[in-house]
């Protein structure tokens, strides 16, 4: 099973990172890092949707909130390794790059791909999130008391 060559949590993390990467980012980093390996499609990229659920009052019974667009594909490298991708939005080229990255992460090229594709994606993501969080923090209200009625 694939889980033996790549621990599940690690794979969950990189697949999630690829799913949330900005348009064209993974493809660009991948092409800068490696020559794309030959592969055959197990499932060519297809556009679809996922029904997103929420919970009443945040914690109660689930309900259907609405859908989001998702692109998925699966491919097999010539060495037999299988790569899957489920990414947000409608972009077949990005799904292909994500699936190739997922496959390569299960091969000897894993450390190079991690260093040159996943790490930069992670950094870009945490920088963007950090910047938003810092801007939000600057709009945090500091209350101070004008008059305290001690009399």
């Amino acid at each position: 099973m694939e889980e033996q060559t790549a621990p599940r949590q690690d794979r969950q993390a990189w697949m999630g990172l690829l799913a949330k990467a900005g348009q064209g980012q993974a493809a660009q980093l991948l092409d800068a890092a490696v020559t794309r390996p030959a592969f055959t499609w197990l499932r060519p990229p297809e556009l679809g949707s996922v029904m997103v659920r929420g919970r009443a009052s945040g914690t109660g019974a689930p309900f259907n909130l609405g859908e989001m667009t998702v692109t998925r594909c699966a491919l097999r490298l010539d060495c037999g390794t299988v790569g899957h991708a489920y990414i947000q939005g409608r972009n077949k080229a990005d799904a292909e790059a994500a699936a190739i990255t997922d496959a390569l992460m299960q091969t000897e090229q894993a450390s190079a791909v991690r260093e040159q594709v996943l790490n930069p994606l992670e950094q870009a993501r945490s920088a963007a999130k950090g910047s938003r969080a810092a801007k939000a923090a600057a709009t945090k209200v500091d209350f101070f008391t004008l008059v305290r009625g001690d009399d």
Binding site: M1, E2, L42, R43, A74, R76
Partner: protein
């Protein structure tokens, strides 16, 4: 091996699923006719025709019941990758797959409600062979009468008596399929 179960789908999904859908529709519309359905190469013991039916009609929103003999790890993986259909027990399924004896009794399955008769199960019955001889069929889609090598007669008569409720049947063997909707009378 997971890799094996990731193959065997339609190589040209748009055209092949349309052709397979046409085959199932023709078979349902003209009970007793044999239709040829190709394009799927599922893991054993599933026939090519039953494989094509699953690829065409099943998705994540159509719970599927696998009877013993068909509930194998390979087949589960193949179905998961190609259709995403959840595997469930007979009482909640929209499709059930297996040999006739293992699928029985019919009372296991949903027959729909008077408001929504379509909320019923469709049984995909894998057959040792499939011929236009045997039981006599009459009803909508049949000019005078037709014949089909059904495994028995009484359950189909009981099912037809439930109309507009009831289950529907698709019979598969190799690359051939036939169908028996609940509207058909069987003698």
């Amino acid at each position: 091996m997971q890799v094996e179960t990731l193959g065997g789908g339609f190589s040209d999904p748009a055209l092949q699923s349309a052709a397979a859908f046409r085959g199932v529709m023709e078979a349902m519309a003209r009970p007793g006719t044999l239709q040829s359905v190709r394009g799927a190469t599922p893991p054993a013991p599933l026939s090519a025709a039953a494989g094509a039916v699953l690829l065409t009609l099943c998705d994540t929103e159509t719970p599927l019941h696998l009877t013993q003999g068909f509930d194998t790890p390979d087949l589960r993986s193949w179905i998961a990758f190609h259709t995403g259909a959840p595997i469930v027990g007979p009482s909640h399924c929209q499709f059930a797959l297996g040999h006739w004896d293992d699928l029985m009794p019919l009372s296991n399955y949903q027959v729909g409600t008077s408001e929504y008769p379509d909320r019923s199960a469709t049984l995909i019955v894998e057959m040792p062979d499939l011929k236009q001889s045997g039981a006599t069929l009459k009803g909508p889609g049949i000019k005078s009468q037709a014949s089909l090598s059904l495994p028995c007669i009484t359950p189909f008569q009981n099912n037809a008596a439930l109309f507009p409720l009831g289950v529907d049947f698709i019979f598969t063997c190799g690359e051939t399929l036939a169908a028996l909707p609940r509207t058909t009378e069987v003698f």
